[in-house]
Subunit: 464 residues, 4 copies
């Protein structure tokens, strides 16, 4: 404890001293309060950055943090305009490359084409907590939702650097349990995006019982802030409804008695790391970890939402190509009454029509590139899992009723089939599904694809 | 303990399973023993790398490790020939850039110019211990001492990635002492490059006494292998000879009584990280750390070798421009008798001539770019230190007598002057030196520069 | 993590194996389910305890845990009847001592007088989590509130052993903050006995801000269960009301700006360790720790309840010795209206009478042994603190209004005076109080002591 | 790191302040340099010990450490004379007990019979590093080899307290390997008592290879000083000679390939803890740990010295009761030539006579209490192991040739038999031995016991 605070104090001290130096420096021009953030960035990239890098980087990041939304947008534009590649150098490098095409010429070209802001970001990382601040900087950038060129260009540089820095080889898997520090648990509550955690008591129910597990990836420099985490229930059977998993009154089983590990929630934590994929690695590592720890576990399966289903179905109902017969269309009108699910009889009628359509949604529909339409399906099937079972009315929450008419599905992770499933999808667009699902899909009406590409939004980062 | 071996076993298991999958994969082509390393690299970059990245990366690294020197040279050539940029894409990107010069075009150009082996190296990093293996890979590459284009090109990619991965923001400073794990201490013995450590007893003398300190930078993924370390003696005065610091029979003082911290040895540890600079950050952090821990410390100084001095002096003596008068030349002939230093009278005569010349060597001579001639001076003066004192016959070891006629010097780190010193050197080529040294330099003969650039060799990585 | 669960699994395995052995042992009599707990205790003390100590101890503790209240009372009686000293041996040792009075005879006598259950308890400690179970065993024993001889005798043995095992030399001081594991924080919420913590949000307010600290003593074998903890507020002045300290809307100050450390809550955690004193050591260690960490802190003070005051005052009012004049008695009648404190005018009148009486309560009244009447005063004054200030209506909670009519006080810990204050009290019964308090006491009515000894209850373990 | 030194500095500061207080205390009598150690001990036991316990305890321990051997002997005598039980109280307690014999009377008697130095030692434990100093104090006491009553009495008190403090329930098992801190490894080199470790290179050979293990018990307050450790070799067969185990040139096997764990060295580390038994617990825990970690291990066995054999044989040869026939006596004369073992022919002749006698030594001879004659046999057979095999000329070191004519033996730890073996020995004096050893013993001459009790010496603490 003392050690940690000691260390961060120390780093603080270096920074403070550096900033004083900047302000009071003798022969070199003083950094006065007036010195603007652009000049500071220039200094950081210049030779002064070598002597006072930590201090300059800390100053830039602090000024940035103090700016309002407009100021932070200006900062992005400034990065774009002032810290792009050196155009003269780049033109020269292109000329050289066109004449000699040697490796040296390519290297020169690659270096000349690198925007100067990439080195700037690397130097900003020298500041204490620099990595966290930079991730936050990109989070703000993405939140600006500005798709114009300057924002796309600057984001591309962040994405490139973060892809390298947050390489899975640098991450650590850590279990999250009831003996995890509270400041990390607090973030688990905040970041959970699939099945909301209402407070500390609910968190305790998800972590403390003998048949619950949770694992997260951490980066060494974001030591108290998870990147992604998965919640796992150990059970004796594949669950068909989320209420069974989260039931407040259930009796926990011992971990030794469990045969099945259920991944019922995966949440990405850092908006600033959007597009950098951790989930695939996380699930496979956790499967291995659990197998070793608990040899009784034979089945590794998810209980996952189907966020794109209701939207697809609505489009299907409106489509004029008669891909649904009148009977089906009529039955589906029941869905328009919000209370349909409370009526067992109506529910039974809906089920008979809905499940085959859902099977078709997964197995036959395709987004661009022959990929599955559903974003969560894209993730798990892309990882090499198999669509195992459709669960009717498995989640009665308002959100799930809206997104998928309550449908949830299980994806099965069978280690020996993962690569073959993945390749079949990647090479031939084949979907891995259980015979039952496949049979259901066959009974559905003709499969004129109407699947629209799902936009990339925060939900995509919170898939199970 | 159990936790660590457990984890590495687990990672091992994922890898092994992956390799079995590779060998036995159903629909995807099996990876047989015949599959060559180039094909494996192709697979790792392809979509299969997504499903089986860790396993493929581990397989490539293991095959590489088993190859002999010739095989490893072929591997470098293969990386150069097969994993350069996609030339067609690059040409197209150039064409686009020449017509629209938008940011998007620059991004496309930058990406197209990036050799595919950079992504390959990032994916190799997925393997267990991947980072360590990749650092070793570059170490071997540098040891090939092949300056032809393929080797330069591949090395440039490693250097670029490592510069980003080993950014100081990702490193941790850790004290090294007598309670440090033996496997790390063993490496301190091996890596010490300035004043050899003869064995565990001598190591103990450098770490255990109350007036000794040692600090190292570590990367989180090379947790038991330091990147650079510095050895420090706490004293009551600036020492003028290394024998005083390392004296077996000295009586340690308490840390509280010390006024001076002497950095008497800095060693880089990883040849594979050549060119990535840690020393500057290390020294400044250690100065801050010690100041805070021991407020009695007022002076932070090195006791450093002068590896370029004897060579420079030899060239000076041979020069025909009469920059040395006959008297001086005659006196310097005494140096040609290896036992000169044992004769107090000769030593006194030599001292009177040698010291002014040494002052001139530091203060007036310049390498290209107005930088100091001496490599160690370049490091410390470039960090913003000041040349404080010249110490005649300060190191009587054979190596030091050969390199510098026994001369050592003290560089002073005064935090408040560091930035000004650095800028004066960077902007105006001014050397920071104490009045005494400056005066001595003034007495030396005229300063026709004859300093030759010192080649970059391992010694440059072991400077103090 | 893995390491820890691994280890506890391992210990579990030894135990389970041992129990199977007990059940299946070949030549030695099998331990069947019928074997009663007394026989198991006999076995544990016999030579079999050497071979199978961990297993036998675990079996005994598990059986004990499964018993109901009546069974656990029987267990205490059994310990008393069957595991007292060996009377024959004791008589023989007395005879020997009476005839030779050598040291050997004393040793023999001391050993013979030791109840055999002391060794039994030491052997029960071999079981996994044995220490925790034994502390719990004494907690249950004390909760039986049975003051008959068997219970007193068995408790005396626990108290003797725990006094040795929980010697302060074996304890570790650890800071408690918002990065402390949740399972420990959960206990802080549960154990807080002075100012209740309503939930995690309130806990966060007490731990996370820069001007809050908390410290606890831990025993190495109860690693996730604190023994005692103190909550500290860093302020710029001595607070006069608890509401100021716990105010939800206050703005935290930086720790560097604080001049005063306020110990506003100390809670003992383990009822099973009643009578073993940690608070004195805890406060002094925390004072030292904070002084070193934050040199700006000059004042170390408590904000403490006065649990005995209202009771004492009620007795005083009923006393017939005219120690209170009519005017005072009449004013004090205002206290009988529960809403008196809401009326500023009444409050002012009460204050003028109440504070001098409170000063008298502290400074002049004495319990047996010339000790202060108030239990919290006994603790802090006994530690060498000084009574610094009386705070009228400092705690408006129902509990405080009932116990002390809202009065709180500050005790000042001045390291240089602690020993003298302690000795003055211990040797001469002198109370250390500030001049202001002393003056107030002088104005109070005559001091016929009516202080009744306060019974030992749980509250005494929750003093500030 | 910082945290640790920070903490110990802090503790130091409390102590120093306390000592200044003692010297400068206002109203309480000042502790001057003249105050003798006996007075300080009195103060520590008095009420002042409550206020200034840490400081007083530190002062006493420091004064003690500065005394020479004579002074430390005086200190023991002082403890005996001045800090025995209060005789008046004891006599009173005896009187009461003789009249009422209640539990309360027994408690009073037990407390009155407790020498006051037991509480004194408990209070000395308050000092920083108190536990380590007290263990050292007893080590010195035992080294005085003074068996007179004062020394026996004081030692009995230390032994009683240490038995409680170092209860196995408070100890931690930790693996020792090549990543263990050097200051601990240094102690492994120093404490190894069975097969000397010549230096760091040899230590590395015993710890670093994949087929070597080492485990130690630690007490939380002696965190860098092991109490006992065992060295283990993982092999494919039960070894019959120590040279095979320690061979410098052997090729390590992987841990997974091993079938047998060989405990080839167990060393107690703390002379001050003599008589407190850890070895039994250590071996059993390590067996469990290894079984779990390496399921391929089926056999757990020692390779142990036989320190009492040569002495026993010499006595047997001198005995006049004709228990050895002339032929055997003549053969045994070969042993009197120190070089006998170098002559294969002589060795073969000796072997035929020696091994049956060795079998008899183990199986038929008995020390007092029907316990095995050999001290190492007493330890392992007492733990429930079985004598598995006699190894002729298994250790050719001078020490082993002198102690046992080179004989070593294997004791087998089979968990399922341990309790039965232990009980058979404890209850019926039966020795557990393999059929082979038993057969050999039957061929030996008649078994008139001549075994002399082996004295308790340091060697007994270094058994394997």
């Amino acid at each position: 404890m003392a050690g940690i605070s000691f260390f961060s104090d120390m780093v603080q001290s270096i920074t403070d001293r550096g900033r004083r130096l900047l302000a009071a420096g003798a022969r070199s021009e003083p950094v006065q309060a007036e010195t603007n953030i652009e000049t500071l960035c220039d200094m950081l990239l210049s030779s002064r950055g070598e002597a006072s890098g930590m201090a300059l980087a800390a100053e830039v990041l602090q000024r940035w943090a103090q700016q309002d939304a407009a100021g932070q947008q200006d900062f992005v534009r400034m990065l774009h305009e002032q810290f792009g590649p050196d155009i003269a150098k780049l033109d020269k490098a292109i000329e050289r490359y066109r004449s000699d095409r040697s490796s040296d010429a390519v290297i020169e070209l690659h270096q000349a084409a690198e925007p100067r802001r990439q080195e700037l970001v690397r130097r900003l990382n020298l500041a204490p907590k620099g990595t966290a601040r930079l991730v936050e900087m990109r989070e703000r950038l993405l939140a600006m939702k500005d798709a114009t060129e300057p924002f796309r260009a600057v984001d591309a540089d962040f994405a490139h650097l973060f892809g390298s820095w947050f390489n899975r080889g640098f991450l650590t898997l850590r279990p999250i349990d009831w003996s995890t520090p509270a400041d990390i648990l607090e973030k688990i509550i905040r970041y959970e995006a699939v099945h909301e955690i209402a407070g500390w008591e609910e968190l305790r129910r998800r972590l403390a019982p003998a048949d619950r597990r949770c694992f997260a990836f951490f980066h060494p420099r974001l030591a108290d802030d998870p990147l992604i985490f998965v919640e796992v229930a150990l059970t004796k059977a594949i669950p068909s409804a989320i209420a069974d998993v989260l039931d407040v009154n259930r009796s926990p089983i011992t971990a030794q008695d469990a045969t099945t590990a259920v991944f019922y929630s995966i949440s990405n934590c850092q908006d600033g790391l959007r597009g950098i994929s951790f989930g695939n690695f996380l699930i496979k590592q956790v499967v291995e970890d659990l197998r070793r720890d608990l040899p009784g576990l034979k089945t590794f399966v998810t209980l996952s939402p189907v966020p794109g289903f209701a939207g697809w179905l609505a489009r299907l109902r409106k489509a004029t190509d008669a891909s649904l017969d009148d009977q089906a269309l009529k039955t589906l009108e029941l869905l328009d009454d919000p209370s349909w699910a409370d009526n067992p009889q109506k529910a039974r009628v809906v089920e008979a029509v809905l499940l085959p359509l859902a099977a078709r949604y997964f197995v036959k529909e395709r987004a661009t590139g022959r990929r599955p339409v559903d974003p969560v399906a894209r993730f798990h099937l892309g990882n090499g899992a198999r669509l195992e079972r459709l669960n009717f009315l498995a989640d009665r929450s308002a959100k799930a009723m809206r997104q998928s008419h309550g449908l949830m599905v299980n994806y099965l992770y069978k280690l020996d089939d993962i690569e073959a499933n993945h390749e079949a999808l990647a090479q031939h667009g084949e979907i891995a599904a259980s015979p039952e699902v496949r049979k259901l899909a066959a009974t559905a009406s003709t499969d004129t694809s109407i699947g629209a590409p799902v936009r990339r939004r925060r939900t995509e980062m919170q898939k199970t």
